[in-house]
Structure formats: structure tokens, C-alpha cells
């Protein structure tokens, strides 16, 4: 537990009050309170629909836990300050939506390269560009994966309920520390603004992954798959650079082997974590030939459609990846082995469906819907029935 800043148990009592009641709140608010639970001590933000409520809750609540909320001049500054704060000891985060997420991409790459633990919430809205600013979408799935330039791996989780916004946010912070990497919390506008019952766990049951600090002699930028950090102000003379660097952090941009070793390790550290990080909510049905794979808000009507189809006597498997990146291909490949056809509804034109296609043997039917309107369960049910013929 991160309790060092907790004078006289104030944080414990504050969290106990949060846990002691049921909340009827939006996904955005749940995500913000989840971050407080996760020990977030720095939030750098910039207002944007549909993520502004996260900033508002953080501005209200962070002073209660002696954390700092700062609204910056833009999203470039927000992500920059988040990374700076992380190196100065913060569990730091920002929250934005598509346009701001686009602006943050360069420094998300910097966070990957410098192995800076931080959490970036992207409450996806309909794009490209300003698009339908107030309406939800899932169009940033591939941007979360490949938005910054160069070879890299990323961790991204997608919640399907307000409750999951809170729960997975704690996981995001823990994964960021465990793998010393930026973690993308890939919400969508539908879940961000969905108001549901949320309960917070007993603070004593929440395990927070502490930041591992380098022991004397340990290198901060290599030497092991996930090297320990050495925060500023501890006499470590740390040199942090987004340029290709050696294990001691010093720049070497000319030696092929140095770059190769560094980037392959950065990729490997997430890749080797794939099975540990990968989470899939699987509701398989014996003998099913049809499956539905959906995530985020779309998983809600998709599950509804599956239940309706089952009620009508059809056997259907339901797959919901909670971890989007690294893609849980082993679990999904196994779940689809006996299927003939997999329907993938998502609020984009088939971004994750293409990724699914790479790892399953059955036919993949993308069911993209854009325009800011979530799928109805009837639409998905119709696709299930059509697929069965």
C-alpha cells in the first residue's frame, strides 16, 4: 500500500468512506475515483468531451489525498508533466479523448522508450478529427496500439461498465508499475457517461504494486527485462532520454546493437507479459458454431443479443477481451477453435476484427457501426441469426 503520504490515517479513512457506500456515478467518475484508490498522486489534464468529468473529479478529490491536479495549456503539456512527475515519484495519469490522444502520441512513445510508468485514459469519441465530439466510438483501438512511431508494445484495457472503470483503473496503475510502461485505459464515450451503481473495495483488500527502486549497482535502463527505476532527487545522477540509450541511460544513437537490444527488450517485456496481462471474459457454450466478440460499451448489447439468441435455442459463444493490447490471441484463438463464424461488432469499421482474423481459424464477420450510436442488441441478434443460416 502506498501510505507514505497518509498523515494520521486520513487517506485510509477517506477511502473507507468511499468504500462504505454504493455510488450511482458515471464511468468517468468511477475511473477517477479508481485512480485515487490506486494511489494516483498527480493528474495533468486538459478539458475535452467526453473525458472532462475525470479531470473534474480529480480536481475535486486529489487535494483530499494530498495529490496534485494541474490543468495544463494543452494535452502535449499534460502528458509531458505526467512523465516528469512520474520520475519525481508520482503515480501519475492524464485523461483525454481522441483529439487529445492524438496530441499525446509523441510523448507516449517517450514514455515507452524511457520506461516511465503512467496511465493515459482515452475516452474514445467519434472521429477522425473533431468528428462527433459528444458521441461515443471505438475508433482509437489501433491508435492505442500504433499511435506513436517506431516499434513498441503497449498495454491497453477496455472497461464495459462503470464498475469496471473503477476496478480496471487500479489494474492500470499496477501494470504500469509492474512493467514500467505507459498503460492506456481505453474507455469509450458510452461507458464514460454511463451512470451505474459502483462499489469500491475495502481499502485493505486493494494491493498496489510498489515502484521498484534501483539498488546500488543496478542499471536503470536495462540489465533485466523490467529494470528498476531510480527517481530524481536520490543522488542517482539519472539520465533519462528518449534517444537510443545504453543500460546506464547514456545516449548511443549510432550503434546498431544498442538500439536493437533496447527496443527488442522493450517489446519483449510486454510480449512476455502477454499471458499474465491478457484478460478475456469468456462465456463459451458447448457445441456453439457462432460466436460474438465485443469489448467496451459494445459488449453490453452484444451480451444481450447472445442471451436472446440462447433463449431462442441457439448455441452462441460470447467473448469479451478486457485486455485489448497486448492482444490476448491465445485465449481468443482457443475459444474460437470450434466456431464456424465469429461476429465482431465494434464502434469502428473493423479495427479489432482484423486483429482477431489473424488468430482464429473461423470466418470473422466485422459488424462495424459508426456515427455515434451504439449497436442495439437486435442488430447483433440479427447478425447471429443470419450467421446461423
Amino acid at each position: 500500500m502506498i501510505q507514505s503520504r497518509d498523515s494520521a490515517g486520513l487517506r485510509t479513512r477517506y477511502l473507507a468512506r468511499l468504500a462504505g457506500r454504493k455510488h450511482f456515478i458515471q464511468g468517468d467518475e468511477a475511473a477517477a475515483l479508481g485512480a485515487i484508490y490506486a494511489g494516483c498522486s498527480f493528474f495533468g489534464g486538459y478539458p475535452i468531451t467526453p473525458a472532462s468529468e475525470i479531470a473534474e473529479v480529480m480536481a475535486r478529490e486529489l487535494p483530499n489525498t494530498d495529490g496534485y491536479y494541474v490543468q495544463f495549456e494543452d494535452e502535449l503539456a499534460s502528458i509531458s508533466a505526467v512523465i516528469g512527475a512520474a520520475w519525481a515519484g508520482a503515480r501519475a495519469m492524464t485523461a483525454t479523448s481522441g483529439p487529445g490522444f492524438s496530441l499525446m502520441q509523441e510523448n507516449i512513445g517517450y514514455a515507452c522508450m524511457t520506461e516511465t510508468p503512467c496511465v493515459i485514459v482515452d475516452v474514445q469519441r467519434s472521429g477522425p478529427s473533431t468528428g462527433q465530439a459528444t458521441l461515443p466510438a471505438q475508433g482509437d483501438v489501433m491508435q492505442a496500439r500504433w499511435g506513436t512511431h517506431g516499434d513498441h508494445e503497449i498495454i491497453a484495457l477496455a472497461p464495459s461498465s462503470a464498475q469496471e472503470c473503477a476496478d480496471l483503473m487500479i489494474d492500470c496503475f499496477n501494470l504500469a508499475e509492474e512493467y514500467r510502461t505507459p498503460v492506456i485505459f481505453l474507455m469509450d464515450g458510452e461507458i464514460g457517461h454511463l451512470r451505474e451503481q459502483v462499489v469500491f473495495p475495502d481499502p485493505d483488500t486493494v494491493t498496489l504494486t510498489p515502484r521498484r527502486q534501483a539498488a546500488p549497482g543496478e542499471t536503470v535502463f536495462g540489465g533485466q527485462t523490467v529494470p528498476p527505476m531510480l527517481e530524481f532527487g536520490h543522488g542517482g545522477y539519472v539520465h533519462v532520454t528518449g534517444s537510443t540509450h545504453k543500460e546506464d541511460g547514456m545516449r548511443d544513437v549510432q550503434t546498431q546493437a544498442v538500439h536493437d537490444r533496447l527496443v527488442r527488450r522493450l517489446v519483449a517485456k510486454i510480449e512476455t507479459a502477454r499471458d499474465r496481462v491478457a484478460r478475456v471474459d469468456l462465456d463459451a457454450q458447448e457445441g456453439a458454431e457462432i460466436g460474438v466478440l465485443a469489448y467496451g460499451a459494445t459488449a453490453r448489447p452484444a451480451k444481450g443479443a447472445v442471451l436472446r439468441a440462447r433463449a431462442a435455442g441457439r448455441r452462441v459463444t460470447f467473448i469479451r477481451p478486457v485486455t485489448i493490447w497486448p492482444f490476448p490471441h491465445r485465449q481468443i484463438g482457443a475459444a474460437c477453435r470450434s466456431l464456424r463464424r465469429l461476429i465482431v461488432p465494434e464502434m469502428n469499421l473493423g479495427q479489432l476484427a482484423r486483429e482477431v482474423e489473424r488468430f482464429v481459424t473461423c470466418e470473422v464477420v466485422p459488424l462495424g457501426k459508426i456515427g455515434g450510436v451504439i449497436h442495439s442488441s437486435s442488430e447483433i441478434l440479427a447478425a447471429i441469426q443470419e450467421g446461423g443460416r
Binding site: F24, F42, A81, G84, W87, V240
Partner: protein, 346 residues
């Protein structure tokens, strides 16, 4: 500041002829070809012993293993590093309590990697933005940004003025050499009007920022301008900026004889320094002079000093107040909240 004449080759030649008569001794043919640290560092590193009196007393402040610096011969970066290191030494600062934050460009290399403290070498333009996060979390550390005109006045200009407005306790040193030097000499937001660069091959048709004046208008508690001709004044100004609470800013007019010099006939660093000497005018002397009279002059000295509330102090005070209130709310003997249905609508 307008440096129109400085960048007009004809004018510059005329000026150079006037200040440097023909009987000026020829330059040392070996100038710049020798590594001033050759032998010294190798011996130091391989033997692991103090090499004695030849060692500069300020070398312990530098990351010695990567010396000499990559700065071109005649670059102003070395002068700035020298002034900065002297400033830190004279102030008695512990480098372990300092963080130098830099961006991309030659000037960012002045402290990072050369100065031995925690160094955060960030993306282009974002040094001030990163520094915000460091300073807010660790107000006990001295956080110093050194970067160039392209970085701080160009791509990162928005962060600069907002940090000044916020009055966060940073010391920002903008090394203004009027050019994107690292990329080979492209026009920058401080390049004087009419000057040729690789991307203004005919002439620059844009007006430059007077960047120290911009920062002074935006806020900040201390704003000054010096040149690399004034290393002692610069050193004192740096000490003042580092010690001063709130946002401090020094524009350091510097020379780039290579990338700036190649298109402007200004490739002799000594002559450029002499030029800085001749056109610099102290802010007190400049007071009351008209725009026309100040044309072509570099106004140096302290432009602004004030004592606005520092940002971090305000943040921390707010947190203290809030936590006192929360402590009272959550005190074990506080009146229990009315038991409702257990569902709270926010």
C-alpha cells in the same frame, strides 16, 4: 531586439573591418584543432586517480566520461555551461538536489548530458512542460531548464508563456542563437528579419520574437537578458534566477558560427562576441531611448523582477486547507452521516 545590421553581410563586413584593423594578428592556425582535454581525461579515467593541477576544479560537476562536448568550435554552448557550472559552484548547490530538464537541439546538450545531476532530456519543445511535473512533485529540488530558441520560443512557446503565467518555481535559460543549429541552419522564431538561412534562402520575411520581452509580459518573477560576451554577468544572473522563487527566465544571446554563420558571413566566433560587446546596451542605459535609437542594439540586464505568489506554494496551501477540512469531516468523533438507502447520487 533587432539584429538587422548584425546579419547584413555588408554591414557586418564594414563593422568587422572597423573594429578589426588589417594588422590584427592572424589566428592561431591550430586553434580549434586540439582537444583541450586530450590526455587529461584518458589518464583520469584509466588510472582512476586525480591527475593533479591540470584538472579543472569544476570537472567534478560534469559527466567526465562523455567529454569533450560535441559543441562546434566557437559555439556559445561552452560559455553557457561554464557560467552555469560556476554559478552552481558559487551557490554551493548540491547537484544531487538539482534536476536539469532539456529538449531537443544543441543548447539542450549544455546540461544534458554534460552536467552531472539528474537530467531529463525530453522531446522537442516540451522541456518546460516536463519540468512542471518534476517541480510540483519535488518542490525541494532545483529544477532548471536549458534549451534553445527553436525549442522554447518555437515549438514549445506555449509551454513557456504558460509556465511564466503560472509562475512555477523554475529557472529557464533560453540560449538564443537565432537558428536551428542542430538540423543545419533553418530559420527560427528569433531569426532577425531579412536574414538568409537554409530555409529562407532569399531572406527571412518574418519578424522575430523578442522572447525575453514576451516572457516578461506573460508573467514570471525574474526576467533578464545577457550574451555570451558577458559570462560574469550571466553567471550572477543565473545565480539570481536559480535562487529566486517563482518563474525565472534568462535569454542568453549566443553565437552559432557554424549553422548561423554559414549563410550570414558570421563564422568567426571572436568577431561575433566583439559584436555582442559593441551592440549590447544595459537596460538602465537604454531606458528612455527610442525604438529607433535601440535599433540593432541588444538590451542586456535585468528586465523584470517582482514577487508574485509562486504556483507550487499555492497548490500546497490548498492541499493543507482541504486536508484539514477533511480531517475534521472524518474525525472519529464527528457526527455520523445520516443513514440513507446507501445509494448516493452525485
Amino acid at each position: 531586439m533587432s539584429l538587422r545590421e548584425l546579419n547584413d553581410p555588408e554591414y557586418f563586413d564594414a563593422w568587422a573591418a572597423a573594429v578589426a584593423p588589417a594588422d590584427r594578428p592572424p589566428p592561431d592556425p591550430e586553434y580549434g584543432t586540439r582537444d583541450p582535454l586530450a590526455g587529461l581525461l584518458d589518464a583520469d579515467l584509466t588510472a582512476g586517480v586525480d591527475t593533479g593541477p591540470a584538472q579543472h576544479r569544476l570537472l567534478p560537476y560534469l559527466r567526465r566520461a562523455i567529454l569533450p562536448t560535441t559543441f562546434c568550435v566557437g559555439c556559445g554552448g561552452g560559455t553557457v555551461l561554464n557560467a552555469f557550472t560556476h554559478a552552481v559552484d558559487e551557490m554551493g548547490l548540491d547537484p544531487r538536489q538539482m534536476v536539469c530538464v532539456t529538449g531537443i537541439g544543441c543548447s539542450s546538450w549544455i546540461p544534458s548530458p554534460y552536467f552531472l545531476c539528474d537530467t531529463l532530456h525530453t522531446t522537442h519543445g516540451r522541456a518546460v512542460a516536463f519540468a512542471n511535473g518534476v517541480k510540483i512533485m519535488r518542490p525541494d529540488l532545483k529544477v532548471i531548464v536549458i534549451a534553445g530558441d527553436g525549442d522554447l520560443a518555437g515549438i514549445g512557446g506555449n509551454h513557456l508563456i504558460h509556465a511564466a503565467r503560472r509562475n512555477i518555481d523554475l529557472a529557464v535559460f533560453l540560449v538564443n542563437n537565432f537558428i536551428y543549429g542542430m538540423t543545419g541552419g533553418q530559420v527560427s522564431p528569433t531569426t532577425p528579419f531579412g536574414v538568409r538561412t537554409t530555409t529562407t534562402p532569399y531572406r527571412n520575411v518574418e519578424h522575430p520574437f523578442r522572447i525575453a520581452d514576451v516572457v516578461a509580459a506573460a508573467g514570471g518573477n525574474y526576467v533578464a537578458r545577457w550574451t555570451t560576451y558577458h559570462p560574469f554577468q550571466l553567471m550572477e544572473s543565473m545565480q539570481h534566477a536559480i535562487a529566486k522563487k517563482g518563474f525565472s527566465f534568462i535569454e542568453i544571446v549566443s553565437q552559432c558560427p557554424v549553422s548561423y554563420g554559414k549563410m550570414t558571413n558570421m563564422s568567426d566566433p571572436v568577431r561575433i562576441l566583439e559584436y555582442f560587446r559593441d551592440v549590447a546596451i544595459h537596460v538602465e542605459a537604454a531606458r528612455g531611448m527610442s525604438e529607433d535609437e535601440l535599433e540593432g542594439r541588444i538590451v542586456v540586464g535585468k528586465l523584470v523582477e517582482r514577487d508574485r505568489r509562486e504556483f507550487g506554494a499555492g497548490l500546497r496551501e490548498l492541499n493543507r486547507e482541504r486536508r484539514e477540512a477533511l480531517g475534521a469531516e472524518l474525525a472519529p468523533d464527528a457526527a455520523p452521516e445520516a443513514a440513507g438507502e446507501g445509494v448516493e447520487d452525485r
